[in-house]
């Protein structure tokens, strides 16, 4: 029986085939899928903010790009994944509303995506797909049997990364 594991906002989950991981309605948040194609162990993080060091409180490490990724990676390794084999696919980081004078607050999607890329690089994890930006929401699903990362949108279609 394959189970569909839901990942909420500011959360991450790891799993192993035949289960799948899904996170609904990403806007400016970024959904990061990590996957080891030999053990079929994967993780999906739904991060909200780029950097825990700039936040006034860091109660929930799954909220930030820089703290969620190392935790998720170590949970995947506990399930048998090998770090050298793990690759990353990312999606999200949209700007949902457009104002004439876009402030930093409005650009958070872009900053989230940048922070995720930088963190992956720092952790030495190869990023093999990137579907970020735009002004629309995304629902993402990581298929743990194949590593396919499916990105669904309302009127921008559906794609498999």
């Amino acid at each position: 029986m394959s189970e569909l594991i839901k990942v909420g906002m500011a959360d991450y989950k790891v799993g192993i085939s035949p289960n799948n991981l899904i996170s609904y309605g990403l806007g400016s948040c970024v959904g990061i899928a990590l996957y080891d194609n030999i053990t079929k162990v994967g993780g999906l993080a739904h991060i909200m903010l780029p950097d825990s060091t700039q936040a006034r409180s860091a109660e929930n490490p799954a909220k930030f790009a820089d703290t969620a990724l190392p935790l998720m990676l170590s949970d995947m390794i506990k399930l048998g994944a090998l770090k050298q084999r793990i690759t990353a696919k990312i999606a999200g980081g949209a700007q949902m509303f457009t104002f004439a004078n876009a402030t930093d607050i409005m650009r958070v999607g872009e900053r989230n995506a940048e922070a995720v890329r930088a963190m992956l690089k720092k952790m030495d994890i190869r990023m093999i797909a990137d579907d970020t930006g735009g002004n629309y929401g995304r629902t993402v699903e990581l298929k743990l049997e194949t590593g396919i990362y499916r990105v669904k949108t309302i009127d921008k279609g559906e794609k498999e990364l």
Binding site: Y24, G25, G27, R56, S57, F97, Y136, R138
Partner: protein, 206 residues
């Protein structure tokens, strides 16, 4: 902000509910006059909830909604988000544009303007009474509109709150028009720090 909002007393929450009540009452009247229909509203919910639970208030993160978003400027900066389920938004557009019910199946830029104007009027009515109540001058920005998944739209305000903590203070009212099932959710989300200003202005210190 978590620490700040988790410390609110019952009396302070009541005061915020009352602020929401008066504001939303004004908005409901405005909406009712524009579309010439009776509008009911729920007593505002003042809830402190984990950030990730907020999308459930409007039917889950993947519910299709239209959101009109405004920033509030002044001594208590806040965000206002007026969320309508997509069908309600289409229905409202039918009414506003004088079309047959069910004619609208996607939004033209003119339709979007109409909905933004509704957001504008509701926010104006709400802020007017909030300003009155608090003696703070609160002014709305121009509105912005998006039609998408509820989670994606709410992420805009939840991310701002996420910088301060893991909980959101949500002042939310649901509008309904019983004959035709038009439904909308009106959120006022004070920026971190603004809550203290609002509470001090209405004289409830805790």
């Amino acid at each position: 902000m978590s620490s700040e909002i988790l410390k609110l007393s019952a009396m302070q929450l009541d005061a915020l509910r009352e602020v929401g009540n008066v504001g939303a009452g004004n908005s409901a009247t405005a909406l009712s006059q524009i579309i010439n229909r009776k509008i009911d509203m729920t007593v505002p919910q003042v809830a402190i909830m984990p950030l990730g639970d907020v999308p459930d208030v409007v039917g889950g993160p993947d519910a299709m909604v239209v959101g009109v978003y405004l920033r509030v400027f002044g001594p208590a900066p806040s965000s206002i988000l007026f969320l309508l389920p997509r069908d309600s938004a289409f229905y409202l557009v039918d009414m506003l544009m004088g079309r047959e019910q069910g004619d609208t199946t996607s939004l033209t830029s003119m339709d979007e303007s109409a909905l933004m104007e509704i957001g504008n009027i509701l926010s104006g009515a709400y802020l007017n009474s909030l300003s009155h109540f608090t003696n703070l001058t609160l002014l709305p920005s121009i509105p912005a509109l998006a039609m998408d998944m509820a989670g994606a739209i709410l992420s805009v305000i939840l991310i701002q709150l996420g910088q301060m903590g893991d909980h959101a203070l949500v002042i939310e009212t649901e509008f309904t028009s019983d004959n035709d099932g038009v439904k909308g959710h009106f959120f006022l989300i004070p920026d971190p720090g603004s809550l203290t200003t609002i509470l001090a202005a209405i004289g409830v210190k805790g």
